[in-house]
């Protein structure tokens, strides 16, 4: 499956970034091949509306799931309408978070 996760650096030593709209990087991981595409967050220093743009970027790549910490109200509205499930995790390593997701240890966020 394709999983998107907010991260503080590029894989492989990345940690999940609890901020969604102002995360440092967005990682898109194919859990079958463990291939990673990473994108620095162009909106992390935006004066306003960072979440709206990051959410739109995520949705346009159509992952099967998103793992992140806190999602602001505007991003939440967009993600909710996209029906992409959003999972909560602590600021563990990306590997750990993915492993937790695949083993049903992550809680889905009620946006």
């Amino acid at each position: 499956m394709q999983v998107c996760i907010s991260a503080n650096s590029e894989y492989p030593d990345a940690q999940m970034d609890a901020k969604f709209g102002r995360c440092q990087y967005l990682l898109f991981i194919d859990t079958d091949t463990m291939k990673v595409e990473s994108f620095p967050n162009a909106y992390k220093d935006a004066q306003s509306g960072a979440g709206t743009q990051v959410a739109q970027e995520v949705i346009s790549r159509n992952p099967d799931a998103l793992i992140t910490g806190h999602v602001g109200p505007h991003a939440a509205e967009l993600l909710k309408s996209s029906r992409i499930p959003v999972y909560s995790a602590e600021e563990v390593t990306v590997r750990t978070a993915i492993d937790d997701l695949l083993n049903d240890r992550l809680k889905q966020q009620d946006l």
């Binding site: 909106y43 306003s48 509306g49 709206t52 159509n62 505007h74 967009l78 996209s82």
Partner: protein, 312 residues
């Protein structure tokens, strides 16, 4: 002539100064531009108030015409738009986040399909009325009131300032601080009075305000409120930078008590009528170079013996 009354630090006495100055000015028009917390009406007591809506023009997108090209989202400086493209999941959508929209109109102008129209979103009101100055003239009073929960003050301030009558002497009570609302309020003024108090915060924030006013190229002078010594950190600062001190108002419990009852300074103590008239004349007779040499020497204050007796 348009005279703005601003400050860096809040609570220094802008409304005290602006309302008393207005009361002694013939043919005056008073503008309270502090739309987040207007308070000048308490002192000037205008009546016959007429309300007008102050609205922001925000986009309305016709999804049946929209092709989800995403240009509006790309162009939006404030990230207020998000376009979800058409996919196997559905027809896509366009989201407008109203609280982020500044009403700039870029999306409306640039949509290649003309799918965007503008609709008015009320964010506040502008009220105008009539008050009496000390010459018993009927004078125009205008203020703006930003709606609760709104954060965009500048469009309401713009609407308020649209009522400016350039035939009159206009006094603008500006919002505190040195950011967008203050700049919007003092922009295009002919003179700016900076009100401060002789405290470290008062000085620090006066310096910020002076920097802004100088960048805007607006002639300016300082009024020191709640002064306790004739020479203080403010007079030092102004002396070094050649900024005229137009007036010093001594710290007075009586003035504070009168203020708390909504009484303008010139009515609490009519000695100030002459002081404010002289301030008005000094401003009208600029250029500031002349004020500087004339007034910095004299340092006007209401009671010539105040600083000798150090009375309260």
């Amino acid at each position: 002539m348009v005279i703005a009354v601003a400050s860096g630090k809040g609570g220094t006495g802008k409304t005290t100064i602006s309302t008393s100055l207005a009361l002694v000015t013939p043919q005056v028009q008073f503008i309270d531009a502090d739309v987040e917390e207007p308070n000048a009406h308490i002192f000037l007591q205008p009546d016959h108030l007429i309300q007008q809506s102050a609205a922001l023009k925000i986009p309305s997108i016709d999804l049946s015409v929209c092709t989800r090209c995403g240009l509006c989202q790309e162009i939006c400086e404030f990230n207020a738009l998000a376009v979800l493209p058409e996919s196997e999941k559905g027809p896509g959508n366009v989201f407008l986040f109203e609280t982020l929209c500044h009403g700039c109109g870029a999306c409306y102008h640039l949509c290649p399909e003309n799918a965007i129209t503008e609709r008015a979103k009320e964010i506040g009101i502008v009220e105008s009325g009539v008050f009496q100055n000390l010459q018993d003239e009927n004078c125009e009073f205008i203020h703006g009131v930003l709606n609760l929960n709104e954060s965009l003050t500048t469009p309401v301030i713009k609407d308020v300032k649209e009522q400016i009558d350039s035939q009159k002497t206009v006094i603008i009570d500006a919002p505190p601080g040195t950011s967008c609302p203050m700049i919007e309020a003092v922009e295009d003024s002919d003179f700016c009075i900076l009100v401060t108090e002789p405290t470290p915060f008062g000085l620090h924030d006066l310096d910020l305000a002076v920097e802004v006013i100088r960048q805007m190229d607006i002639p300016h002078g300082v009024i020191v409120n709640r002064s306790q010594d004739r020479h203080n950190i403010i007079t030092d600062y102004c002396g070094k930078r050649n900024i005229p001190i137009l007036l010093q108002i001594p710290y007075s419990k009586r003035i504070a008590e009168g203020y708390s009852k909504g009484i303008p300074l010139v009515k609490i103590d009519p000695h100030y009528i002459k002081q404010f008239q002289e301030v008005l004349v000094a401003i009208q007779n600029q250029p500031p170079k002349d004020i500087s040499s004339a007034l910095n020497e004299s340092l006007l204050y209401a009671d010539p013996h105040f600083f000798d007796e150090n009375a309260q």
